[in-house]
């Protein structure tokens, strides 16, 4: 973990509870979620179903419902819940007393993301 490049993206309070904000990166758009219990998750802002922007969905528990076709995606591991199959990549995120950092090191698919 210590070898990773951590990039500051802002503060917990920038994100509404049960909401999300986006981070624009050279590797595509990242959605950063804050859940009702103040947990924070970073996932690629793209539903595995039809590339819907997950950041725009309704956040409940540790999941988000995609605004396009109501797939429910786990924020913890990016997998589709229920009968749907697929996963969206998640990113390492560090929360230091509310100061948020993400690492893009594990993302290796800029070309795919650029399709957005």
């Amino acid at each position: 973990m210590t070898d990773m490049n951590w990039i500051a993206i802002g503060h917990l309070s920038d994100i509404p509870r049960r909401g999300a904000r986006c981070v624009t990166t050279p590797k595509g758009r990242i959605a950063v979620f804050r859940t009702v219990d103040d947990a924070v998750f970073a996932v690629v802002d793209r539903c595995p179903h039809k590339k819907g922007p997950l950041s725009q969905g309704i956040v409940h528990g540790h999941s988000v419902t995609c605004p396009l076709h109501n797939w429910v995606i786990s924020l913890e591991d990016g997998t589709a819940q229920g009968a749907d199959e697929g996963a969206t990549p998640t990113l390492p995120l560090r929360n230091e007393d509310g100061a948020l950092f993400i690492s893009l090191d594990t993302l290796s698919l800029p070309a795919d993301l650029a399709a957005e």
């Binding site: 986006c22 950063v32 103040d38 947990a39 969905g57 309704i58 409940h60 528990g61 429910v72």
Partner: protein, 814 residues
């Protein structure tokens, strides 16, 4: 030779450390203590019971003068240390006393944060920190009057409770949306707020203090939104800051607090720091348990041991008599969590346990906190709870299988005068009495005798539950389709119970109706939000995070994540100026497609989210407002040109359409509502397939409803005919309000009307003038709060965060 130990500060942490040290190594040190406060060591945590009058100062003393004398400790009271000379190894106090040390412990504690608003230095503005503060508060409280507590955290709420007990009128002003947000989730905060409200303590959330007014002493607190709260006493309880100034001036390493290692040692090997002034592994603690743990480690070190402190997880209890609240551990970050939630509304119980990798990570409990220490113990030990999991939430004493909760329990908890059938004004007591006196056993009988659920039928589920309750096994209620997986209740029951129990927030609904998840899902949250908006238009604060994206950003999301923008064109009428403005916007923002909609408006497709506020700003300058083409609300009123131009037109259909649209725009409804007004029976505006339609005839206006031309195709039903335009408006609006109050979320008018019966709608709107006027007036009232153009609101800065990325990372880090 005896070593010299000097301790700066005489609070609870060094007090505990002394006890440990004296037991481990009596006589090892010659001890000198400097205390800035003019008294012995007392239990600061017990200040709240002193304030509330439940304890006296004498009750909370930990070490009296005899203790220091007995152990040969020199205690300088009222002596504030101002310098540490590390080279000479001495400390010097304000009053000139100097003491040499071999080992020094800094335990200067913390200072309360005073928010720098005008008037913060007025007499009568107090912190809540030491006995002097409490004495001053008690003095002011003797005359009664009003107190405003700034800060709805643990301390602030305890202060509020204490002052209330002392006879003051108390308000708590809190910046965040829920109180004690660091320890409590919204559900538990709701219960706490309710309990405090029951004790006549007013809680104002999302309230930011702007200034404190007064000339010689405090008179009032002014909030950002302009509200003025009269006050004879203001208590600031917004937080604490480690007192590290002395250490900093002595050149020790200081971040937020004085940095210590696992042996509680500062950057100078002869100096230790302990208590609220210390910072260990980046953490400063303000609760007593971790301070006691570190005090023990320090005592060990000072007596030659090698003890290590590894940080603590903390738990919180609120000292308000009759309020049982427990919060422990961490539920603020990390991945891979699960939660277990238990709610029992009738008993006022809420429990939530957060698990990760089969270990307890945190727990929040309200009402029944008996198992708090049990959970906390397993949390600290990292106990694997996979074996206990199924019954974990029921607590330590729980044996055997869990009880099944059913909605009947909710009905059982309703008082006899709670209204079950709103249409006919029938209370629970009346139904129970009728069943008993007349020996009724079927729903049809109950309907015949009481009229309960005989009109719109939306309370059928509740009536059945009253029957089940009264008749016991003899009655089996019909299966109701639940709103979603988070509850067993159906839409109608949820709505009815929101009314009967006066529930006014989403956390309140989820708690009282025993939701099975902590914050619902994408199905129930928008529904609850709508029901509350509809029920309490003036009081309810719309929860944007519970709205579908289109209603949150006031545009329609498209498959590629861009948005479409549709401005309102009243009655479908536009002008050259409006068209020019649209053309300019399309050019300026390179909008890829412009299309005419089925509702006689213009749609701009492919707008980037970031551009939305600028697009709206330009459209707003031309006089456009949001067309709400995205809303479960009033969409369009389609019109034909009517008597103004058409040779067949019988009435001014365009004018009436515009009038209706201007009257009804902005209203939220269970599902979208589309209207049309045609000027003659040729019906060019296609009124006969709309949710509500009007066909003008020579003698007046024929009102239609319950049409559909989407997934289903269905011609309208006729509601009736009225003579004047005013009557037409009143009937249309009343019908819309009846639908708003009665339909299930996402249920279009044609489905709702079919379910409750077309005749029922006619009976209430056409035949019952009093009912109709009631509906009309409630709609008008609700519009006072709904008719705000969401576009101009956002152009002027509302919800700015929605439209901007949180951060832009230009270059991938190498």
């Amino acid at each position: 030779m005896t070593q010299k130990l000097v301790i700066i500060g005489n609070g609870m942490a060094p007090g505990r450390m002394l006890e440990e040290l004296l037991e481990k190594a009596p006589g090892l040190y010659e001890i000198t203590i400097f205390n800035a406060e003019p008294r012995v060591n007392y239990d600061r945590i017990m200040l709240s019971p002193v304030l509330s009058g439940e304890k006296a100062y004498e009750d909370i003393i930990i070490h009296d003068d005899a203790f220091y004398a007995y152990h040969g400790i020199t205690l300088h009271k009222g002596a504030k240390v101002t310098t540490i000379d590390r080279a000479a190894k001495t400390v010097t106090a304000e009053n000139g006393i100097t003491a040499p040390y071999d080992k020094l412990v800094i335990a200067t504690g913390s200072t309360p944060v005073i928010i720098p608003v005008p008037g913060a230095d007025l007499p009568g503005v107090l912190a809540y920190r030491d006995l002097d503060d409490v004495s001053r508060m008690l003095e002011i409280a003797r005359n009664g009057g009003r107190a405003v507590v700034i800060g709805g955290g643990l301390l602030g709420l305890e202060a509020a409770y204490g002052l209330k007990r002392q006879g003051m009128e108390v308000s708590v002003v809190h910046l965040m949306p829920t109180i004690m947000e660091r320890q409590l989730d919204p559900a538990a905060a709701y219960l706490l707020e309710k309990a405090l409200a029951d004790r006549d303590i007013t809680i104002l959330t999302k309230a930011n203090t702007k200034a404190i007014l007064g000339t010689d002493e405090v008179e009032a607190v002014v909030l950002d939104d302009g509200r003025v709260l009269p006050a004879d006493l203001v208590v600031m309880a917004v937080g604490i800051r480690p007192s590290a100034q002395l250490a900093k001036e002595a050149g020790l390493e200081v971040n937020r607090g004085i940095v210590v290692d696992d042996g509680m040692r500062t950057s100078d090997p002869a100096i230790y720091a302990l208590g609220e002034c210390a910072e260990h592994r980046g953490q400063c603690y303000g609760l007593v348990a971790p301070l006691y743990e570190s005090a023990k480690v320090l005592a060990d070190r000072l007596s030659g041991g090698q003890g290590e402190y590894h940080g603590s997880v903390t738990s919180t209890k609120l000292k308000v008599t009759g309020v049982n609240l427990f919060s422990a551990g961490d539920f603020s970050e990390g991945e891979g969590r699960e939660e277990i939630v238990l709610r029992d509304a009738s008993a006022g119980i809420y429990k939530r346990i957060i698990l990760k990798d089969n270990c307890i990570l945190g727990a929040v409990m309200y009402g029944d906190v008996a198992d708090g220490p049990w959970y906390f113990d397993m949390l600290k030990r990292g106990t694997d709870v996979s074996e206990l999991r199924a019954t974990l939430i029921h607590g330590q004493a729980f044996q055997g299988g869990g009880e099944a909760k059913d909605p009947a329990a909710l009905v059982a908890g309703l008082p006899d005068d709670a209204e079950i059938c709103g249409c006919n004004g029938i209370s629970k007591g009346k139904i129970v009495a009728a069943i008993r006196e007349k020996g009724l056993t079927t729903l049809a009988d109950v309907r015949a005798h009481t009229k309960a659920s005989a009109s719109c039928g939306s309370c059928t589920g509740l009536v059945e539950q009253v029957m089940a309750l009264t008749l016991g096994e003899a009655y089996r209620p019909a299966v109701v389709e639940p709103v979603c997986g988070c509850t067993d209740l159906g839409h109608d029951d949820v709505r009815r119970l929101i009314r009967a129990k006066g529930l006014k927030t989403i956390p309140a609904v989820m708690q009282e109706l025993e939701w099975k998840t902590s914050c619902g899902c994408a199905k129930c949250r928008p529904a609850l939000n709508y029901y509350l908006v509809c029920e309490y238009p003036d009081e309810y604060a719309d929860d944007y995070q519970s709205r579908f994206i289109n209603e949150r950003v006031h545009a329609n999301i498209q498959k590629d994540g861009t948005y479409s923008v549709v401005p309102r064109m009243w009655g479908g009428v536009t002008s050259s100026a409006e068209l020019r403005a649209i053309a300019d916007v399309v050019d300026k923002f390179a909008i890829p497609m412009v299309k005419v909609t089925g509702g006689q408006r213009i749609d701009m497709l492919g707008v980037r989210k970031e551009d939305l506020p600028d697009v709206w700003a330009d459209l707003g300058k031309a006089g456009f407002v949001s067309g709400q083409a995205y809303a479960k609300g009033l969409r369009t009123v389609k019109t034909c040109v009517g008597s103004q131009w058409c040779r067949f037109g019988t009435q001014d259909s365009t004018g009436l359409g515009i009038r209706i649209e201007k009257f009804m725009w902005g209203s939220w409804t269970p599902a979208k509502v589309k209207l049309a007004v045609s000027g003659c029976p040729r019906n060019c505006a296609e009124s006969t397939c709309k949710d509500i339609g009007i066909i003008c005839v020579d003698s007046g206006y024929e009102i239609h409803f319950a049409g559909a031309a989407g997934l289903d195709i269905k011609g309208t039903e006729i509601l009736g005919t009225v003579k004047t335009e005013d009557e037409a408006l009143e009937h249309v609006v009343a019908l819309a309000q009846m639908y708003r109050e009665g339909a299930r979320y996402l249920e279009r008018i044609y489905k709702w009307a079919k379910r409750i019966g077309y005749d029922e709608v006619r009976a209430q709107i056409m035949d019952d003038a009093e009912k109709r006027k009631g509906y009309f007036e409630r709609f008008v009232f609700s519009q006072k709060f709904a008719q705000v153009d969401p576009w101009s609101e956002r152009v002027s800065g509302k919800d700015k965060h929605e439209f901007k990325p949180m951060a832009v990372i230009a270059q991938a880090a190498e």
